[in-house]
């Protein structure tokens, strides 16, 4: 918080956090490992997206800088293609989580 900012007075410290533990599996460690694996997926996708942008910029310009990557705006076609790439990644990697012994063992 910036000292002297008006923002200082506009929020309160007495909010109430959730009272329920979110342990759904055999033990908390298993839940935590699953959450970590899912969170890593978001970090992976951030890297993948950066790679996509860099490849595009290199093809278009022959050079790339951090500023160019941050400023890049994908076309509608690129957005659609990258969204499909993301969804295939999610299905391919996390589809295994559906294999719980109640039906087929095929990912996705």
């Amino acid at each position: 918080m910036t000292e002297g900012s008006k923002s200082k007075a506009t929020h309160r410290e007495d909010f109430v956090p959730p009272q329920t533990e979110d342990v759904f599996l055999d033990n908390a460690a298993l839940d935590n490992v699953m959450s970590t694996v899912i969170a890593l997926g978001s970090e992976f996708w951030a890297l993948q997206k950066r790679m996509n942008v860099m490849e595009t910029l290199l093809e278009e310009n022959g050079s790339v800088s951090k500023e160019m990557v941050e400023a890049y705006r994908p076309t509608e076609e690129q957005s659609a293609a990258w969204e499909e790439q993301r969804d295939r990644f999610i299905n391919r990697v996390y589809g295994f989580l559906q294999n719980t012994g109640t039906d087929s063992k095929t990912a996705g």
Binding site: S5, V16, P18, F24, M34, A46, A71, R86, I90, Q98
Partner: protein, 399 residues
């Protein structure tokens, strides 16, 4: 948000068009001197500029992943899990629609791995969404707070904050497990706005849902629409949309959460929308009797205990003028629809693990009857915006 990045190459023409369209936002931006890294709008699929680009590409990419993972969790794995819930409930000897009591559903599910793994996925999607947003906005916290400070006094529109407002305990929960909830994080408005777009599967990006809703808000029979109020307005998406439909109307929004209102005011001002936002309680608005033509409440009541709902409805009746319209939008109660076993299980998750503290109480109430008890006349034939999870209802104050 302000201080956009310089665009490159082929994107420049598009940026120019948006710069022209949102000229008023540029003017508002000039009031501050702070600089955010990589702050630019619009980006990606956000084509109308109402939801600005996040400050860092990685933050935006993580949110895109979360959106995709949530879609998969709900629509792919979620469907399989829902089928499994219904299958287990049937095996336990119950019909699945309408659902048996939740305790029976939970007993039937037991420790089924499909169901609980799916729940783990859905819950973690929510957690990583907030973690990403809180981390990303706080990485530039001073700049965002300076942006809000500068916007507080900017216009068009006004912002009234009340640091001495006596905030009741029921409003202090971290609804949707958003860290700090609506009152505890000075950047809560930013965090909420981007998070709720993911949670609603992109329904409210660019205020699309709010704009659709604004188009069907009924005008009182006499056609008079001089003053409008949205209670529990959050980041003021609905008042913004209402102002666009009724530019001559004096538009107000009130909420308990100052961080939400500050962000909403900044956004309205940047969009050139002259609306008035004020930190007040819906139970005790402080407005004069008979002073509004239309009052709305967008997904407010499922966040409110029933006893407080009664007070709010009485207050709505007080401040509406005779013939004025009340138009709330919210989840359907059990008197309006009865969920299947899997639907009931999802509602239970929302209540217990998504920290929708008051939703169960709301769903168990007869909201239509509560409006009637407050002296409002319900018109169930009025236009309504039907969505999968919620719908709108119209009531009027008798002449």
């Amino acid at each position: 948000m302000i201080d956009r990045r310089t665009l490159f190459g082929t994107t420049a023409a598009v940026a120019s068009a948006f710069t022209s369209f949102f000229g008023s936002r540029k003017a508002a931006a000039a009031v501050t001197s702070k600089s955010l890294p990589n702050d630019i709008e619009p980006r990606g699929t956000y084509t109308e500029g109402r939801l600005e680009r996040l400050p860092e590409m990685d933050m935006e990419s993580r949110l895109e992943f979360t959106q995709g993972f949530r879609n998969w969790s709900l629509r792919n794995f979620g469907r399989k899990s829902s089928s499994r819930v219904n299958e287990l409930v049937r095996e336990a000897g119950f019909v699945t629609s309408p659902s048996p009591p939740i305790d029976d559903v939970l007993a039937a599910i037991g420790d089924d791995l499909t169901v609980w793994t799916s729940v783990r996925c859905k819950t973690t999607a929510q957690q990583i969404m907030w973690n990403n947003l809180v981390d990303g906005f706080n990485a530039n916290k001073d700049a965002y707070l300076a942006e809000l400070d500068a916007a507080d006094a900017s216009g068009p529109g006004t912002l009234e904050l009340n640091a001495d407002l006596d905030i009741p305990d029921y409003t202090k929960h971290e609804i949707h497990i958003q860290p700090g909830g609506y009152i505890g994080d000075p950047l809560g408005g930013y965090v909420y706005h981007y998070g709720v777009n993911v949670f609603t599967l992109d329904l409210s990006s660019e205020d699309v849902f709010h704009r659709d809703l604004a188009q069907i808000i009924p005008v009182p029979e006499d056609g008079k629409m001089e003053r409008f109020l949205d209670i529990g307005t959050g980041v003021a998406q609905l008042p913004m949309a209402v102002k666009e439909r009724f530019p001559e109307t004096d538009v107000w929004g009130i909420d308990v959460g100052a961080p939400m209102l500050r962000y909403g005011h900044m956004r309205a001002a940047e969009n050139g929308l002259d609306i008035n936002l004020s930190q007040r309680m819906a139970e005790d608005t402080g407005f004069e009797d008979n002073s509004f033509d239309v009052v709305t409440a967008y997904i407010l009541f499922h966040e409110v205990p029933t006893e407080e709902t009664k007070k709010i409805l009485a207050e709505v009746r007080r401040i509406l003028r005779p013939g004025g319209v009340f138009f709330p939008v919210d989840f359907r109660t059990y008197t309006q629809t009865r969920p299947s076993a899997s639907g009931r299980f999802n509602q239970w998750w929302d209540h217990v693990h998504n920290n929708e503290v008051w939703t169960e109480e709301y769903r168990a109430s007869d909201f239509i009857q509560l409006m009637a008890d407050a002296g409002l006349v319900v018109n169930e034939d009025a236009p309504t915006l039907q969505k999968r999870f919620w719908n709108s209802v119209m009531a009027t104050k008798p002449v």
